[in-house]
């Protein structure tokens, strides 16, 4: 039972999550990320180190170290809700793959408890790392933000080659269900052509049936101030419902995917 003692660093837990996988879910947010997306709504997730963020004028410590055993206890609390709804545990971040042992062992513990598992991730890690997790994963919610490596690098700090390659490998492994998600960010990827590009790519992945378009929101803005960081998306408005609908139709028109707005 050693894997129950594996330690990891998280920055939040959210129960009754209804947008990140089937049913009612508990999301455990792991701290640390490889990317630095300008629009990130959880900027406090990016650094692995424990930080202090001002929240409502008071210092709040962001990040704590926990064991798999402690986390599974929290996840267990909502078991009656998973049973009714087909829900379970979702790992999010940050990028969970930055803490591969903890992610793997937490997912493994959930599976051994009979709890459905999902992972929200950019797949930005060597495939060998991802491979260790796949046996314990029911659903991979994979972000594909752009098909153009240069633009991807400009807005997130890294090119996208590895992630696109991993997407294909995960799909080919056939070990879990794969859904592709796109944060729709004005000035970055919100044109019909860009979204269609992602849809076309996703359509070539075996077994992938769904594409989720997640409209940009500014709810993380206050956190940048709390962290003493500039908000680079200042003044950029969320896409309108009409525009999202246009993009949805555009994505569907070039693929056989079921495209939905929101998770």
């Amino acid at each position: 039972m050693d894997y129950l003692q594996t330690k990891g660093r998280i920055f939040d837990i959210q129960r009754y999550s209804v947008h990140d996988g089937p049913g009612i879910r508990t999301i455990v947010f792991l701290k640390g990320c490889v990317l630095r997306c300008r629009w990130c709504c959880n900027p406090e997730s990016q650094e692995y180190k424990i930080q202090t963020m001002k929240v409502l004028g008071e210092d709040k410590v962001i990040g704590r170290d926990v064991t798999v055993e402690e986390m599974i206890k929290v996840v267990e609390e909502d078991r009656p809700y998973y049973r009714r709804s087909g829900g379970g545990l979702t790992l999010s971040g940050g990028e969970s793959l930055c803490q591969p042992e903890f992610a793997r062992d937490l997912l493994r513990a959930a599976k051994e408890h009979g709890i459905n598992t999902a992972l929200e991730s950019m797949a930005c890690a060597p495939f060998e790392t991802i491979e260790t997790i796949l046996p314990y994963l029911d659903l991979y919610l994979m972000d594909i933000k752009h098909t153009n490596p240069a633009k991807h690098k400009e807005f997130t700090g890294r090119p996208n080659d590895l992630m696109m390659e991993n997407a294909r490998k995960v799909a080919l492994s056939g070990k879990c269900k794969l859904i592709i998600r796109v944060p729709v960010i004005p000035t970055f990827n919100d044109t019909i052509e860009e979204i269609q590009g992602i849809a076309r790519f996703a359509d070539t992945l075996p077994g992938v049936e769904q594409l989720h378009l997640l409209p940009y929101h500014r709810l993380g803005q206050d956190k940048y101030i709390g962290l003493g960081r500039p908000y680079l998306m200042e003044g950029i408005l969320p896409p309108t419902k009409e525009h999202m609908e246009t993009l949805r139709k555009a994505a569907e028109s070039v693929s056989s995917l079921r495209v939905q707005i929101g998770g």
């Binding site: 209804v18 609390e77 709804s85 929101h217 709810l219 803005q221 206050d222 939905q260 707005i261």
Partner: protein, 839 residues
């Protein structure tokens, strides 16, 4: 199987609604004048006879009206949403508020100068004759004192009729009032002049016959009016409608209904006229989808009505339910804000054999609420393990509209809870909900469901003050709180104060109960409740099969958190001494004395001076007030109070699925429900507890000092069985799990659990599925009731304006949750935009 497809809304419905809400509601004097005339003419006769004669006099003479576009007719006032008054219950508050009722903030009513004069004239007759005055004279002095000190308030039935009943609509639909008169006559024939109960029974039965006859004549007045209007009508379509209305009213409710349309009209007269006989609210239509269904099915099968036409009639009834209104005193109006009459109508559930009863009408009732989007009826839905999923999805769609309806009820808890109170299994399975959340068996029960609000926080204040409040002994002396050496001793003192205050509340309720039976028995209502006819007794005299009194406690979350904090900080961790805690409460933690505390404290000091034989005049009063106003804690004290408040914050709170706290809260709830259930009422029934506050947690919280859970003085207390606002930080599943850990079976008069959602949580079919799963899971864990506020744009705009009222408003947008009021303005605006867009 049942049909869940939508039905388009008839163009008639928006017109009816617009006309209904065009103006501020009006107070009319017709009923008050007529009942006074009748009472003057029947002095000295038996009270039951006088009641029937007065009811008949009112129905023969009260002005009647058929409003434009109506298909279902019967209005108690000429003005839309107007109200009549009921001086036989009480009038003094109205007399006092005649000049302010139009301008008050909660539920204002327009009143003409002429009406005021008429009411003032009428009121002269009623001095000393009201049920309210009689009730006061029956109460024990200590109970009156406890009311004055806001320990509890029995105001509802103290000043008004009881209402809170579901009658046998199905019997009126089946045999009409002619049939009921025949039943009364048959009972009369059985009466022997030598019977011990001959006088009472024969007079009661005659009163029933007079009342039923009056209702038949009232409908005939409508038949005549409709036919006159038809004769003058130039629009051929409306003319035909009026002729049909006339035909309906000449047949029902005198006779059994022969069509769905007649059944609708017959239902309406019952519903309306119960509210002319007495001023009680929460007269609840109950299982409308069940007793109306045979008429609907027959007409559909015969092909004489379409689903669309039937829906239009339902929608018309839904609008009419909002045409009835009631003026309350200013304080009660705040407790029941929103002109609400709590006419609860419930769909779904089981029959007496335990089969699911969902039918086409169950769905159409939900559609009607979507179509009219009005507060009445209070639509409820029964949920059990066998409830069809699609019915719940339809209900969730209604929830998503943000109307706050329907409320969801758990058969799996309520049926055994009612059996535990002596209902047969068959009766328990056929329960419906009265008013807010109170379960009972229709046509057999006088539940007195809303008998008082009991503030569970106040007895804890009495523990700290050794029974004193504002210089008077109101509770019992449980000793110096600072000398209590164990938590058990402290908790025991709270239990003793609770038990004593509960006994006073019972005393007050029973006094009011007796006053109702002696002064305002209701023969019309009684003829539709078993076994009044065969017993020869009105409902008020104990004629019903099941008799209960159900006063509701509130503040459970505050008390659970308070007692838990004291146990932890004072007795376990010894971080705070009881003396410090007492001081912190007296000083309202770091906030200092507010205006109300200053005036309370001055009052207390003056009382103490008087009791000590000192002369007190206005100058002394002023001097005392000024001294108290200058009182301030020292810097050091203030620092410590702030520290204590922080420590309290850190103590685990109810609502976060923490076993230890939740099961402790369960014990705290027992301090109300267990002592209460041993008491009997004058109708021979038991007391049973409810845990719900309607909206009284706000005004009554205003009368409550700081509590040991960190709640500041005179702020709202927790709502129903819900966790304290803002203290349930782990989201809806954890809150629901905590609430389910209270014992819902013992609080058989109902519990109320509110949750707030942002529309995005219910977006799409998937959102609805997850929402339904949440309800199902709460019910799996034996929760009793759940209702939802889906926040709308207006709420969020108001939260921007008054952030202090929305400290706990969590918005969950796109999988992201945040406390709305803590977001910056531009983000709040984003969320408001998203709210409109529904994603």
């Amino acid at each position: 199987m049942f049909n869940t497809t939508d039905i388009p809304k008839s163009s008639r419905i928006p017109k009816l609604i617009e006309a209904l809400y065009a103006k501020m509601p009006v107070i009319e004097s017709a009923r008050a004048k007529l009942i006074t005339e009748s009472y003057k003419a029947t002095e000295g006769q038996p009270v039951i006879t006088r009641r029937a004669e007065a009811f008949a006099h009112i129905l023969r003479n009260i002005p009647i009206i058929i409003r434009d576009n109506e298909l279902i007719v019967g209005s108690s006032t000429i003005a839309p949403r107007g109200c009549q008054t009921f001086p036989e219950f009480s009038y003094q508050w109205l007399e006092d508020e005649l000049d302010t009722v139009a301008t008050r903030t909660a539920d204002p009513f327009y009143i003409a100068e002429e009406t005021k004069a008429e009411l003032r004239e009428v009121h002269k007759y009623w001095k000393g004759k009201t049920s309210s005055e009689l009730a006061t004279s029956y109460m024990a002095p200590e109970a009156i004192k406890a009311i004055e000190h806001n320990i509890f308030t029995p105001g509802n039935y103290f000043y008004n009729g009881v209402g809170h009943v579901t009658v046998k609509y199905e019997e009126v639909l089946a045999i009409g009032y002619k049939g009921i008169i025949d039943k009364a006559r048959a009972e009369l024939e059985k009466c022997q002049v030598g019977d011990g109960n001959y006088a009472k029974k024969s007079h009661f039965l005659n009163a029933v016959i007079v009342s039923c006859q009056a209702v038949i004549e009232y409908a005939e007045r409508y038949a005549e009016l409709a036919s006159q209007m038809a004769a003058e009508c130039t629009d051929p379509v409306r003319k035909q409608e009026l002729l049909q209305i006339s035909e309906n009213c000449s047949r029902v409710p005198a006779n059994g209904a022969t069509s769905f349309y007649e059944a609708c009209q017959s239902f309406w007269f019952v519903q309306q006229l119960l509210q002319v006989e007495s001023s009680g609210h929460s007269i609840s239509p109950g299982r409308f989808d069940q007793y109306m269904y045979p008429y609907y099915k027959a007409d559909i099968d015969k092909g004489v009505i379409t689903r669309e036409a039937a829906q239009e009639l339902l929608d018309c009834i839904w609008v009419k339910l909002n045409d009835l209104n009631k003026v309350r005193d200013a304080a009660s109006a705040e407790g029941f804000a929103g002109y609400s009459l709590f006419q609860n109508l419930i769909v779904g559930g089981q029959d007496k054999y335990g089969n699911d009863v969902t039918n086409d009408l169950s769905v159409m009732c939900i559609l009607a609420s979507m179509h009219v989007h009005l507060p009445m009826p209070s639509l409820s839905i029964r949920v059990w393990n066998g409830s069809p999923h699609e019915l719940l999805i339809k209900a969730a769609e209604l929830t998503r509209t943000g109307i706050g309806l329907p409320a969801y009820y758990n058969d799996e808890v309520i049926i055994p809870a009612l059996q535990n109170r002596g209902l047969t299994l068959e009766d328990a399975r056929e329960y419906n909900i009265i008013g807010c959340v109170e379960p009972q068996k229709a046509g057999k029960t006088d539940g007195w469901h809303d008998a008082a609000f009991f503030n569970m926080c106040r007895p804890l204040e009495l523990v700290f003050s050794n029974g004193m409040d504002k210089g008077e002994l109101v509770g019992i002396q449980t000793g110096d709180v600072t000398k209590m050496t164990t938590f058990e001793e402290f908790f025991d003192a709270y239990k003793k104060q609770m038990e004593y205050c509960i006994s006073l509340m019972v005393n007050a309720d029973n006094a009011i109960d007796v006053a109702h039976s002696e002064r305002v028995p209701l023969p019309y209502e009684s003829c539709m409740v078993d076994d009044c006819l065969s017993r020869g007794l009105s409902v008020q005299e104990g004629g019903a099969v099941y008799n209960f009194t159900g006063p509701q406690g509130f503040g459970i979350a505050n008390m659970a958190d308070s007692l838990y904090a004291i146990r932890k900080l004072v007795y376990e961790d010894k971080k705070v001494s009881m003396e410090e805690y007492k001081q912190a409460l007296a000083w309202n933690y770091d906030k200092g004395l507010d205006q109300q505390s200053v005036s309370d404290m001055s009052e207390m000091i003056l009382k103490g001076m008087q009791d000590a034989g000192m002369a007190v005049n206005t100058d002394t009063a002023k001097a005392v007030l000024q001294t108290v106003m200058r009182l301030k804690p020292t810097e050091e004290q203030l620092r410590r109070f702030t520290e204590i408040h922080h420590m309290i914050d850190e103590v685990p709170k109810f609502g976060n699925a923490i076993d230890d706290v939740d099961y402790f809260a369960r014990d705290v709830a027992y301090t109300y429900s267990r002592p209460l259930q041993k008491y009997m009422n004058p109708r021979g029934g038991h007391y049973q507890a409810g845990l719900y506050p309607v909206s009284a947690n706000v005004p009554l919280g205003g009368q409550t000092g700081a509590t040991p859970d960190g709640r500041y003085a005179h702020t709202p207390v927790a709502d129903g069985v819900s966790p304290t606002a803002g203290k349930d930080v782990k989201g809806p599943t954890a809150a629901a799990t905590s609430v389910s850990r209270l014992d819902h079976f013992i609080v058989s008069n109902g519990t109320l659990f509110n949750q707030k959602f942002h529309p995005s949580a219910l977006a799409g079919r998937e959102g609805l599925e997850k929402f339904v799963a949440l309800i199902r899971t709460f019910f799996d864990q034996k929760g009793m009731h759940m209702q939802f506020n889906v926040v709308d744009r207006e709420t969020l705009l108001d939260a921007q304006k008054h952030p202090e009222n929305y400290a706990h408003l969590v918005v969950r947008v796109a999988g992201y949750s945040a406390l709305f009021t803590t977001l910056s303005r531009s983000l709040q605006d984003d969320i408001i935009r998203r709210t409109e867009q529904g994603f």
